[in-house]
């Protein structure tokens, strides 16, 4: 995951190493791979792709866009109007910090899970008889 502050545009970008196509595939075929739950089934953290609705919070992240090259999941957010005391980098670190550990874990697990789903889907497609 990389983060970038665009001061002139008053925007910040967070680019994941995960592709939005992988998130969409898991949302459809294996949604459990996009969430952490406790023993009682309560959601603790989630990852989602919802075009136009980026958000990041301690309980989850929604990627609202994808990069033109590679289709990597992207969060586009607004910077505060005035630069905070600790600078924009410090502000963004505080905003992302609560979710960072979870995001790193999902960036490790999502590609493999998406590859399994793709293989299973291809196997199912190959088995379908069209008359």
């Amino acid at each position: 995951m990389t983060a970038k502050v665009l001061r002139d545009l008053k925007k910040y970008l967070i680019v994941s190493s995960v592709k939005t196509a992988d998130i969409e595939a898991l949302a459809k075929y294996r949604p459990s791979a996009l969430k952490e739950q406790d023993e009682e089934g309560n959601d603790k953290f989630g990852v989602a792709y919802n075009p136009g609705h980026s958000s990041i919070a301690p309980f989850g992240v929604t990627f609202g866009a994808s990069t033109a090259e590679g289709g990597y999941a992207l969060i586009v957010g607004d910077l505060p109007d005035e630069e905070p005391k600790g600078g924009y980098a410090g502000w963004l670190a505080d905003k992302v910090g609560g979710a960072l550990e979870h995001i790193n874990a999902f960036e490790g697990s999502i590609p493999a899970a998406a590859a399994e789903v793709a293989e299973a889907r291809n196997g199912l497609i190959a088995s379908i008889v069209i008359e």
Binding site: D43, H53, I56, A57, T62
Partner: protein, 79 residues
């Protein structure tokens, strides 16, 4: 993404949902029957017609936590 604490007469669950999700989608995912129930979102009564509105149109901000209470309406008259 929003976090929703859903409470009914018998259960309490915490679920994550998109800001574009509707209360009905949340109830369906959790298997909650809202017929004969009063529902309130963050303390505001929700009419049945609002169950199909996205959370963003019901006063919930993206990245925040919301509370939904589903209370079964019981017959009050004792015989």
């Amino acid at each position: 993404m929003i976090q929703i604490n859903v409470s009914t007469n018998t259960t309490r669950r915490t679920v994550n949902a998109e800001i574009t999700a509707t209360p009905k989608q949340v109830f369906d995912d959790l298997g909650i029957n809202t017929s004969s129930s009063m529902v309130n979102l963050n303390g505001n009564f929700l009419y049945a017609a609002e169950f199909n509105k996205p959370m963003s149109e019901l006063g919930v901000e993206d990245g925040t936590t919301a509370n939904i209470n589903v209370v079964v309406k019981a017959d009050g008259a004792a015989e």
